[in-house]
């Protein structure tokens, strides 16, 4: 079963390809955009910019600290640097530089962490970005974006450039199906998109897990359970209104993300829900482990990141809600 198939979504190409195209579009429109690469441009697809605008593309080499520092210097001069690499290398090697030179300075620089999650698959845990949202959560001035499909990736890249200040953008290797029409994807930083109305419970997801959440909603609907699905493309700032309304109106929430449960999207949503309207919650994500090299689909099944896993969590949370209300 393909991701998004149950929900009737059309398949697309790998998100990194979409990112590269979106970045190239942006570079065509905005001459202040520069791209800095940590020698992975052919993997992140940032190299699309190199071919057309070689003077605005800088391969800084396998030296992420310097990569971020140079980008910060350029941002201080009024350019809009997109600093790109695998999130595992970029964030873990250059966390200090991202924190100090970009975060504390509140500079207009964009950090793009590619190969987020486990679905890069066969290259294994050293390359996987399973902690990127948690790490970026530790740097308070950053906006954190995790788009879920091709159209939203295009809009996220544009939104990152339009926002004056530090932005982290998650990209991935896996193909995510079309959720939005190419010409009609609402994307406002800090405003989540409600993809499916529902009264029984809410599935809140980001990235690849949005399509899986829509699949789960399709499964649940055959059982008479009516699930709301929210694309939480912005992890910070959180859309308090949409999340609070989901808690009040549906009374139960499942969070789903291709990320560690620790410090990810779900834990942020849980803090907010606990403050404004506590309801039963369940969390689909990675427990405290590193996963192995394998085919992405095999990994998703083994580590319980499928639509079936979301549906199972939804049934649990739905019955917990009914126990409370009865």
């Amino acid at each position: 079963m393909q991701l998004g198939e149950l929900a009737g979504l059309k398949p697309s190409k790998p998100m990194r390809d979409v990112f590269g195209e979106a970045l190239l579009n942006l570079a065509r429109q905005n001459s202040r955009v520069v791209v800095l690469d940590g020698d992975l441009g052919n993997s992140t697809k940032a190299e699309l910019v190199r071919q057309e605008f070689p003077e605005r593309f800088f391969n800084i080499g396998i030296a992420e600290s310097n990569l971020v520092g140079i980008g910060a210097g350029m941002a201080a001069c009024g350019l809009i640097p997109f600093i790109t690499s695998f999130s595992s290398f970029l964030l873990c090697n250059a966390y200090d530089q991202i924190r100090l030179a970009v975060g504390i300075s509140n500079l207009n620089a964009k950090i793009v962490g590619s190969h987020g999650g486990i679905t890069l698959g066969k290259d294994g845990p050293t390359q996987m970005g399973i902690e990127d949202l948690a790490l970026m959560g530790g740097i308070p001035t950053f906006v954190i974006l995790a788009p879920s499909d091709p159209a939203s990736m295009h809009r996220a890249v544009q939104a990152a450039a339009d926002h004056v200040g530090p932005v982290f953008l998650r990209s991935s290797r896996i193909a995510m199906p079309h959720i939005y029409p190419d010409d009609n994807c609402p994307f406002e930083i800090g405003r989540a998109n409600i993809l499916r109305q529902g009264a029984d419970l809410t599935i809140i997801a980001c990235g690849m897990m949005v399509a899986a959440g829509l699949d789960a909603a399709a499964i649940l609907s055959t059982e008479g359970i009516d699930a709301r699905v929210i694309d939480l493309h912005t992890i910070r700032p959180l859309d308090r209104d949409t999340i609070e309304a989901a808690a009040r109106e549906t009374g139960a929430i499942v969070c789903a993300e291709e990320h560690l449960l620790q410090g990810g999207m779900g834990s942020n949503v849980a803090r907010l829900v606990a403050e404004c309207c506590p309801v039963p919650m369940r969390f689909v994500g990675l427990p405290d482990i590193y996963v192995e090299s394998a085919d992405p689909d095999d990994l998703l099944v083994k580590y319980h990141l499928t639509a079936e896993d979301i549906a199972a969590a939804a049934r649990q949370v739905f019955s917990a809600k009914r126990r409370i209300t009865l």
């Binding site: 800084i60 030296a63 600290s65 310097n66 520092g69 001069c77 009024g78 350019l79």
Partner: protein, 278 residues
């Protein structure tokens, strides 16, 4: 262009005033890094008051200004004092160092004070920032120079050598590093804690033009800063041999003053010594 004796005397007097301000700031704050600031005082005076930096204190973000990046961020008191004397902000701001609600932070934070080009304080980062400024200037066709003051201890950081390699790769001839080589890091003599030598050879082998100078001889520093402007195909570093705590004998003699303000009693003696050097 050599400076006149009268100009040199003015610069020495400026250095003396800035040393006193560093003493006053850190003593009032009860903390800070006076000894690290004093070792680089003549370097910064040469840059800001020796007609090296092209800058406009009343238009601090003028796009074509030369940049000065204090990579050794713990010498913030020196940076602030120089900026105040240059007219970037009122000198009374200096006495708010490390106080609540003050822009005069313990280490420099970009965006809080005019003239502060970069956030620094985690060591090893300033040279990368400087390369970013150079490459941005190249792209936007602005013709400025970038000066980065490095500490010697921070040359232990990998990022310094990442940036050293990249600066030569990108032929950043408008980038000048000045190394405040006072031979001490926080916990002791550098030669004992983590040997840096042969330091000049390291920089040369990374593709840099290297000059060495007495870091307390203002006219010699100015000569070197003018000389490196003639280098057109590689970045330059001026290794300035300095004395940590320069100007106050009992601080010069005790490296444990790193990160420590003088007591009010010690400050009285220090003030007398700095004034006596007039």
């Amino acid at each position: 262009m050599t400076i006149t004796q009268a100009e040199l005397e003015n610069l020495k007097e400026k250095a003396r005033q800035i040393r006193l301000d560093i003493l006053e700031m850190t003593t009032r704050a009860g903390s800070g890094h006076p000894s690290s600031s004093w070792s680089a005082t003549e370097i910064v005076v040469a840059l800001y008051f020796g007609a090296i930096l092209r800058h406009r204190p009343n238009d601090p973000w003028w796009s074509e200004r030369d940049r000065f990046i204090m990579s050794k961020g713990h010498a913030a008191p020196l940076l602030y004092a120089a900026l105040a004397h240059a007219g970037y902000f009122d000198r009374d701001e200096l006495w708010r160092l490390r106080q609540i609600d003050s822009p005069v932070q313990g280490h420099p934070v970009q965006g809080l004070l005019p003239g502060v080009e970069a956030t620094t304080g985690s060591l090893g980062q300033g040279l990368s920032l400087g390369i970013g400024h150079v490459l941005a200037g190249r792209l936007t066709q602005l013709n400025y120079r970038v000066y980065v003051l490095l500490g010697d201890g921070e040359c232990e950081a990998g990022q310094i050598w990442e940036s050293a390699m990249a600066a030569a790769h990108f032929k950043t001839a408008s980038l000048t590093a000045i190394l405040d080589y006072n031979k001490y890091q926080e916990t002791g003599p550098i030669s004992r804690e983590m040997a840096l030598e042969p330091l000049a050879d390291k920089w040369r082998s990374f593709g840099w033009h290297v000059e060495e100078v007495d870091g307390h001889n203002i006219s010699a520093i100015i000569d070197k800063l003018e000389l490196v402007q003639t280098i057109t195909d590689q970045p330059s570093i001026i290794i300035a041999h300095t004395v940590k705590g320069k100007g106050v004998s009992f601080v010069e003699a005790d490296y444990t003053f790193h990160g420590r303000a003088l007591t009010p009693e010690q400050a009285v003696r220090a003030r007398e010594e700095i004034n006596a050097a007039r």
